[in-house]
Structures are given as structure tokens and as C-alpha cells.
């Protein structure tokens, strides 16, 4: 009886230990640079981080129940960015031959975006000779996100994108005229121009382009990154970002883009 009990306990113990090992060991292993070539957009590849690979509607918030007019605008944006994906992704950048361009997609109401954008900004200032970042606003989380994104892009028109970004990343956002006026004073921009720009067609177009890019890359949420030609969904460690940058530098990201 005793030995039976013992063996039962032993079996249970082994099962528990096995389960625990199964659950913990994979997470103890480092994130490997597992890259998967993408069919579309051609020439890009995806960093496989695991969990978020499938089962999501990748077109969330990108217009399912839109009016015909809006749907047409979105279709136009999709066509626009598909013509030259790289210029849509990295359009504002003029990277030197040694720099790898990076496109960051974020939303002000997404907790991980706060962390990731800050880290990418730090990384850019740490190794300016290696990377250049194009910031894309991808407001998926409702009206406040949308307004914050528009305000950020309007601030960019007055060269205050970084100041605005830093400010937004530390405080919640409210789009009342008084709040925007106060915020403009704080970061030293013209509030009237900021509010006018927020409603401009140019900014709408920029947001449409970012949304279309998200659609092209089938992003299910934020944060999302494209480093050279490697697509990353979700927050990843600095180390992995650096590894991908090095890989892109070695392989020469410039080979891409022409395909699309």
C-alpha cells in the first residue's frame, strides 16, 4: 500500500514537473530570430514572435461598415501605398547607406506603445548612424486615439512631433480647444495652426496611408514595426530589435521594395 502510494505520488510529481517544465522552459529560451517570408507584400518577411500569429481579424478598425465615400477613400489609400510600399513606409526618411529605416506604428491609448516608442526613440539617439525611424500614427482605439494622432501629426507640421509625443506619452489626452491651447503653449507651438491642421486633408491622408499600410501588412493591433524588410507585430525586446537591425544591415535591406 505504502509503495503504491509512493509511486502514485511520484507519478503525480513527475506529471506536475513535466507540465511546469513544458510551461516555463519555452519562455526561458531566448526569442529566436525566426523569420517567415511573406507572400504579400512581396519581399518582406515576418518576425514570428508566437502568440499573435493567427485567429484575429487583421482588418479591424480599417473599415468594415463604412459609407461608400469612406470606402472609396480607403481603397484609394490602399492603392496609393501599394504602388510603392517602401516610400509609403519610409517616405519621410532619407537614410544614409549604413542606416536601416524603421517604421513604427503606434496608438496613444495602447500601453505597450508608450514603452516601445520611447525605447525606439532612445535607440535612435543612441545609434543615429544605424537606424532612422519613421513614425506612423495608427489610431485603432477610438475617437480619443484618433484625435491624439491628428494632434501629433499637426504638431509634426510645426517641428514639435517629438515634444508632443513625449507630452502625450506621459499624460492622458483630451481634445478640447482649451486643452489643446494649453498643450500648444507648453510645447511652444501655435495652437490655432495646430487646430486648423488637425482638420486638414493632408493629415487625413497621412492617417489613411498609415491605416492602408497596416492593412497591407495585416497588423492586428499596436505596436507594430517594420525594420528594413522585417515585419514585427507586438512589443519585442530591445535585444531582438538590435538583432534584426544588424541582420538587415548585413543583408542589405535595399533589395526590397521594388517588388511591390
Amino acid at each position: 500500500m505504502d509503495s503504491k502510494k509512493r509511486s502514485t505520488l511520484l507519478t503525480i510529481g513527475v506529471i506536475i514537473a513535466g507540465y511546469a517544465a513544458l510551461r516555463t522552459v519555452p519562455s526561458l529560451l531566448p526569442e529566436k530570430l525566426e523569420l517567415q517570408a511573406l507572400d504579400r507584400p512581396e519581399g518582406f518577411r515576418k518576425f514570428v514572435a508566437g502568440e499573435t500569429s493567427g485567429g484575429f481579424d487583421p482588418f479591424f478598425g480599417l473599415g468594415t461598415a463604412d459609407s461608400t465615400e469612406v470606402a472609396a477613400q480607403k481603397a484609394a489609400a490602399l492603392e496609393r501605398v501599394s504602388e510603392n510600399i517602401c516610400s509609403a513606409l519610409y517616405g519621410g526618411l532619407t537614410p544614409t547607406p549604413t542606416q536601416v529605416p524603421m517604421a513604427s506604428f503606434s496608438d496613444y491609448y495602447c500601453p505597450f506603445c508608450r514603452v516601445q516608442t520611447k525605447r525606439l526613440a532612445d535607440m535612435t539617439s543612441e545609434m543615429p548612424d544605424k537606424i532612422a525611424v519613421a513614425w506612423h500614427e495608427l489610431p485603432l482605439l477610438g475617437d480619443s486615439s484618433n484625435l491624439a494622432a491628428k494632434a501629433a501629426l499637426a504638431a509634426k507640421r510645426q517641428d514639435a512631433y517629438v515634444a508632443f509625443h513625449e507630452r502625450l506619452m506621459t499624460t492622458p489626452f483630451q481634445a478640447s480647444p482649451e486643452y489643446l491651447a494649453r498643450l500648444s503653449d507648453d510645447i511652444g507651438v501655435d495652437s490655432k495652426k495646430l487646430i486648423t491642421d488637425m482638420g486638414s486633408a493632408e493629415i487625413t491622408r497621412e492617417l489613411e496611408d498609415s491605416a492602408a499600410l497596416a492593412r497591407v501588412f495585416a497588423f492586428v493591433g499596436t505596436p507594430a514595426l517594420v525594420i528594413g524588410r522585417t515585419v514585427v507585430q507586438g512589443q519585442i525586446s530591445d535585444r531582438t530589435v538590435r538583432e534584426i537591425i544588424e541582420l538587415e544591415r548585413e543583408e542589405g535591406w535595399r533589395d526590397v521594395g521594388t517588388a511591390a
Binding site: P111, P172, V220, Q235, S237
Partner: protein, 707 residues
């Protein structure tokens, strides 16, 4: 025939069973009808459930629930999501016969990632919904457009529709009803229905934190506090303290973003199985923290054990570089005193021991008082005060000058006469002063064992503090007590002679080095200008004291002026000056940022934290003997470890809180965080290369596995 009948009977039974089975399926379908089809993806599975199978005649309300099951690693948000995030929202337009639907929120959990505070749910949760009907007793058709945000390493928004039709009818879906009731129980109660009472809510003096005080008849268990002031006001992680009975709670919640135009404020307090939400009004009088920690009362045995450790720590303090010079003063005084009686020597040393104990008791009393009024206290923090450091510097510099022969400290003539006539009473005062000085100077040297004892004392009752500090004092005074017990030990010392001059110079040199160290501390605490000013004043003081035959009154005036100017000068014009730190800008040490530690660790990095201060000699010793020497230096610089330095030379709340969080009240404090030790491996006060490397290896275990 019989057989035939039996076969028929069994056939009939089989049919009956089949029929019942089908009915059962049908019935169970009817039961399932009290929930909607589900929306599902890897992040979340959502269903709309109803406690009622149908709308009974005259029923005016229905109990519904939004059942959410978050995937592993995913979380969703409470009605106040925290710093960022979005609360779930339901749009009911398109429903028929629905007058109103009120979403209730079960008590949330706190999620902390990378210094961002979020409140919400993981795993299973049902958000109960109280729905009212337009027409009582009529069927209800629900169309719920749900928007919710889920986050793991990526934040994915979801927008989906759930529909549920409840026809007229009776019946309760027990499973759904149980789930709804279960989670409805977790919805925070109104204050009237709970024994938790929020007595005070106020902003602190600097408007940088919200203070909440609450009481409860039932002792608190696992408590958390969630203030809600609308979407524009966000808070950091609360500092929650309970009294010994765990019936009174004091919480300080740092304000991250504030606006005067906030919504009607409320505070939710969650406890193990209960919670309340109460509307609050801010009062202007913030109560101080009443309790230093929620530690249970320590047993007598434990207090005695810690007292023994404190005794040992005190004894070791005698050989630390800060105290050794003072022992030397005592030694010279013994060497100089020829022809002292046995009794006089004994008394002298007893007075020195009393000096040590007096300081230790005074310190203990001050600590108890400070704890009582709610100030966070630590060992050695008086060295963060420029006036204190100034005075110490002047005293030591004057002593050094005296030992080096600049002047003799002469006693008033009347006293000298009495000295000659009777006992050396005035000598006892100087003996007492020597002991006092030794104890004062000992504080910045947190010797081995001492950290543990002081930590224990500072977290205990006033009696614990007194017992442990007395033990510490006795340890420190032990050399004096030994000589007091056996005064003949002194007579074994060599006779006075020319060699004494040498000893005197040597000891004077030691004191001079101590003075130089204090000056260095002063530069860190008060700035280089103040240090220069104080050195000049001290020089004037020493010169004035050493001019022979100067006018007595003029001399006194100059000396007092020097001391007063020094005290006020140090207090008023001290400016923080960190030019010394700037020199090290290229070093491998990063500035201390406790919020980044968790982030680094989550990325698989190993973080070494060194809390140090200019006035901490043990820290300096650790630095030059271990941290700045290979192989530790090579390891810290190698890139595999993030080295963070916290400079506590001047008061810093963040550092004090960091120490307190790790149950330390003094420095040096070194701790290693890493994938193998997310909550940190604290190192002993005196470092050894083996201890540091061992802790680094243990903390970075995960990255070693991966290599």
C-alpha cells in the same frame, strides 16, 4: 410469447429512451438559448448570458452578463483602465424592448508592466448587466455592439456584435445565473453595506499624491486602492500601510497626471474577498503616515537574537575607518595621562562608554519620535544634512590641529585648579565627549550585521528600537568597558617618551584624513562653494585658537563668529553641486531609475544596483576593493550587466523608498535583479568578488541557459 412481449417491451423502452434523449437535447438547447453565440479569437472569447430563460409576465428587469474569457497572457480593462488602455463599451442600439442597461464592474486587479499601472481583468470575468424593459413581461431582443481592448505584448482592439433573444416564458438558467451572481458579488459595495469606511482623502502638501485613510472592523487582507478622478487624472503605484491590527489603512498614491477639472471623484478599496466604492470629497489636511510597515510583532527571542547581531555589529564598527581615529584620540589621552589612579582610568573609560550609549540612546529616541510623526528614517541620513556635516568637519579638523600641536585645548584656570585639587572631573567630560564622537562618526559605516539589526529595529516597536540600539551601543563601547573592567591593561602600555610625539602625529594624520573625507562629503551635500567657505572659516578658527597670548575676549568672539557663520552659511547657501558626478559621465554606471529595472529584467537583462553616498565609507571601500576591480569591474562593463548607481549623498525620496521596499534603512546596499531573480538578490554590506559574481550568475541564470 413471453419472450416476444419482453422484446416489445424493451423496444418500447428503447424508443422511449430515444425520445427522452431527444427531448433532453432539445431541453438543453433551450437552456443554452439563455446565452448568445460567442465571439472568439486567441485574445478573448465573449458571450452574452442571461439568468432568465424567458421574460416572465410582469417582469420589468432582466439580469444579464457579458462573459469574457481572456486568453493566456491577455488582459482587459476596468471602467477606469489606469494610465492608458480602454474600458469595454457596449452599444445597445438595435435592441428591442430595452429601456436601459447598466454595466456593473467587479473589483479589478492591478497590472503593472514597465512602470505603467493598469487595472482590469485576466482569465475569466463576467460583467453583470442590470437591464430594464420598456414593456414589462414582453420579449426582449438584445443587440450588443461590444468594443473592447485586449493587450498582451500587442494591444488588439475588438469590435463585435452579440445578440440574444429572450421570449416570454419562465425558467432560470442556473449556470448563467450562478455566474452572474458570482461576479455581482465581486462588484464593490456601497459604503453603507460594508464595514470598510473611508475616513480621509486629501492631497499631500505638495499636491503630488493622494492620501487615503480607511478603517474596517474586519482586519484587512490583500488590499489595494483605486482612485477615480476621470480620464485625465492618473495615479502611480500606491504605498499602502496597515496598522498592527490590520484594521486601519493608510495609502499614499502618487499623482502622475492631474487636472482641476476632474470628474466626481471616488475611491475603490479592494480586499481579499470584498470591496467598496465610495464617493469622496478632498480635504485639505493630509494625515501623515501612521505606520512604518505591516510587520507583525516580533517575538522576544527574535528581538534578542537581533540584539546579539547588533552587539556584534557595534563591536566591528570599532575597527571601521570612521571610528578608528576616535579610538586613537582616546589612546593618546591615556598615553598622556601619567600618574592617573586606577580609579580615574576606570572612570574615564566608563564615561567614554557612557558617551557612546548616550548618543545611541539619543539617536534611538529621535528615530522613535520621527517614526511616530511619520518621517521615513534611515541609518546615516544625518550625513545628508549640510549643517551636521559642517559641524562634524569643524570638530574633527580642530581635533586634528590640536593633535598635530597647533594649540593646546586648555581648561579655564579655575577648573584647572580644581582638577589639581580633586579628581579629574573635567577630564571625564572630555572622556564622555570622546565616546560621543566615536558613536556619531560610526553612523555612516554600516558594518556587517548592522544593516540587519537596524532594519529590524526601524520596523519594530519603540521598545525593539531601544533594545537593539542599546545592544549596538554596548558593542561599540566594549573596548572602553574592557579597559574600565581591567584598568591595569593601561599600565601595560609603554611609558611616555619621545615616541609619543610620533604616535601623536600619526593619529593627527588619521584625523586629518577623516576631516578631508568630511570635506568631500560636504562638497557633495552642499556644493564646492560652501565647502571652500567652511574650510576657510575652520582655518580662521584654528589660527585664532593657536595665536599665543591673544586677547581672551577677542579670541572668543572670533571663534564663536566662525562657528555661527559656518552653521548658518552651510544651512543657507548650500547648493547642490554634482560636478564630481559629471566627471564620471563616461563610466559604465547608469543613473538610478527604479522603473526601468522591471523593464530590463523582462527583456532578459541583469541589473546591478549600487546604492551609495559620498559619506558612506563602507561604500567607498566596496567600490575600490570590489566594484572597481577586476573581475567584477570587467563583468559590470562587459555589456551583459546593466550597472545602476543610486547616489544617496543628498536626500532622495525615490532611493529611500527603494531601500524601504527591500527592507533596508542604511547603506551600502547592493542588489542584483535578473531573469533568475526578478525580485532581486540583496548582497551583504561588505562585498566580496565571489558574492557579487555569484549573485550576477544566479540572477542571469536564464540568459546563461540560453547561451
Amino acid at each position: 410469447m413471453l419472450i416476444h412481449m419482453m422484446v416489445r417491451f424493451f423496444q418500447l423502452r428503447a424508443w422511449l429512451l430515444l425520445l427522452l434523449g431527444c427531448m433532453g437535447i432539445f431541453l438543453s438547447d433551450a437552456v443554452k438559448a439563455a446565452e448568445s453565440e460567442s465571439f472568439s479569437n486567441p485574445a478573448v472569447t465573449a458571450r452574452l448570458i442571461s439568468a432568465e430563460d424567458g421574460i416572465a409576465p410582469d417582469a420589468a428587469s432582466v439580469s444579464l452578463g457579458l462573459a469574457l474569457e481572456y486568453g493566456e497572457g491577455w488582459k482587459g480593462y476596468w471602467r477606469t483602465p489606469g494610465e492608458v488602455g480602454l474600458a469595454p463599451e457596449i452599444d445597445w442600439s438595435g435592441s428591442t424592448n430595452l429601456k436601459s442597461a447598466e454595466l456593473l464592474w467587479p473589483a479589478p486587479k492591478r497590472f503593472e508592466a514597465f512602470g505603467i499601472e493598469n487595472f482590469g481583468y485576466s482569465g475569466r470575468v463576467v460583467l453583470p448587466i442590470r437591464a430594464r424593459l420598456e414593456d414589462a413581461g414582453h420579449p426582449l431582443e438584445l443587440r450588443a455592439r461590444v468594443s473592447l481592448l485586449t493587450c498582451s505584448t500587442v494591444c488588439v482592439p475588438h469590435d463585435f456584435e452579440l445578440s440574444l433573444a429572450l421570449p416570454q416564458g419562465f425558467g432560470i438558467d442556473t449556470n448563467s445565473a450562478r455566474q452572474i451572481a458570482n461576479y455581482a458579488d465581486r462588484v464593490p459595495a456601497v459604503p453603507e453595506n460594508s464595514d470598510i469606511m473611508i475616513s480621509v482623502t486629501a492631497l499631500d502638501a505638495r499636491d503630488s499624491a493622494l492620501i487615503v485613510v480607511a478603517t474596517s472592523d474586519t482586519p484587512f487582507g490583500e488590499v489595494d486602492v483605486f482612485p477615480e478622478f476621470g480620464p485625465l487624472v492618473t495615479f502611480g503605484k500606491p504605498d499602502i500601510r496597515l496598522d498592527r491590527d490590520r484594521t486601519e489603512l493608510w495609502a499614499q498614491i502618487p499623482i502622475n497626471a492631474w487636472t482641476e477639472e476632474h470628474a466626481e471623484p471616488s475611491v475603490t478599496i479592494t480586499d481579499t474577498a470584498r470591496a467598496i466604492t465610495a464617493p469622496i470629497t478632498l480635504t485639505s489636511d493630509p494625515p501623515a503616515p501612521p505606520f512604518s510597515s505591516a510587520n507583525p510583532r516580533a517575538s522576544v527571542l527574535k528581538v534578542m537574537a537581533v540584539a546579539a547581531i547588533a552587539f556584534l555589529g557595534g563591536l566591528i564598527l570599532n575597527v571601521m575607518p570612521c571610528v578608528l581615529p576616535v579610538l586613537s584620540i582616546k589612546l593618546t589621552s591615556v598615553l598622556k595621562a601619567t600618574g592617573q589612579t586606577r580609579q580615574m582610568t576606570r572612570n574615564g573609560f566608563l564615561f567614554s562608554a557612557l558617551g557612546v550609549l548616550t548618543f545611541v540612546w539619543a539617536l534611538a529616541a529621535a528615530l522613535v519620535f520621527l517614526q511616530w510623526i511619520g518621517v521615513s528614517v534611515g541609518w546615516g541620513i544625518q550625513f545628508q544634512n549640510p549643517v551636521f556635516v559642517t559641524l562634524m568637519f569643524m570638530v574633527i579638523a580642530v581635533f586634528a590641529a590640536n593633535l598635530l600641536g597647533a594649540f593646546e585645548i586648555t581648561l579655564p584656570a579655575a577648573l584647572q585648579d580644581r582638577l589639581g585639587a580633586s579628581s579629574a572631573r573635567a577630564g571625564y567630560i572630555s572622556d564622555f565627549g570622546t565616546g560621543l564622537l566615536a558613536a556619531i562618526l560610526a553612523t555612516p559605516c554600516s558594518a556587517p550585521f548592522l544593516g540587519t539589526a537596524i532594519t529590524f529595529a526601524l520596523a519594530g516597536t519603540p521598545l525593539d528600537v531601544m533594545v537593539i540600539f542599546t545592544a549596538l551601543g554596548l558593542g561599540l563601547a566594549l573596548p572602553y568597558l574592557v579597559i574600565a573592567a581591567r584598568p591595569e591593561l593601561v599600565t601595560r602600555m609603554p611609558r611616555p617618551g619621545r615616541w609619543m610625539l610620533l604616535v601623536r602625529i600619526l593619529l593627527g594624520g588619521l584625523l586629518l584624513a577623516t576631516a578631508a573625507w568630511l570635506l568631500f562629503v560636504l562638497v557633495g551635500v552642499a556644493g564646492a562653494r560652501v565647502a571652500a567657505f567652511i574650510s576657510a572659516l575652520t582655518a580662521v578658527f584654528i589660527i585664532a585658537a593657536s595665536i599665543p597670548r591673544a586677547n581672551r575676549w577677542a579670541r572668543r568672539a572670533v571663534l564663536s563668529a566662525c562657528v555661527l557663520l559656518a552653521i548658518f552659511g552651510a544651512g543657507l547657501i548650500s547648493t547642490p553641486d554634482r560636478t564630481i558626478a559629471a566627471v564620471d559621465a563616461m563610466s559604465h554606471w547608469q543613473d538610478f531609475d527604479p522603473l526601468r529595472i522591471a523593464r530590463y529584467v523582462s527583456e532578459g537583462e541583469t541589473v546591478f544596483v549600487d546604492v551609495t553616498a559620498d559619506w558612506c565609507l563602507t561604500c567607498k571601500a566596496n567600490k575600490s576593493l570590489v566594484l572597481d576591480k577586476d573581475p567584477v569591474r570587467a563583468r559590470l562593463r562587459g555589456g551583459s550587466v546593466i550597472a545602476m548607481q543610486a547616489d544617496w549623498t543628498k536626500p532622495d525620496d525615490a532611493i529611500a523608498r527603494f531601500l524601504e521596499r527591500h527592507d533596508r534603512y542604511g547603506i551600502p546596499f547592493n542588489i542584483v535583479f535578473g531573469p533568475g531573480a526578478p525580485s532581486g538578490i540583496a548582497l551583504p554590506e561588505i562585498l566580496t568578488p565571489q558574492a557579487v559574481l555569484g549573485a550576477l550568475d544566479a540572477a542571469s541564470m536564464r540568459s546563461l541557459v540560453s547561451e
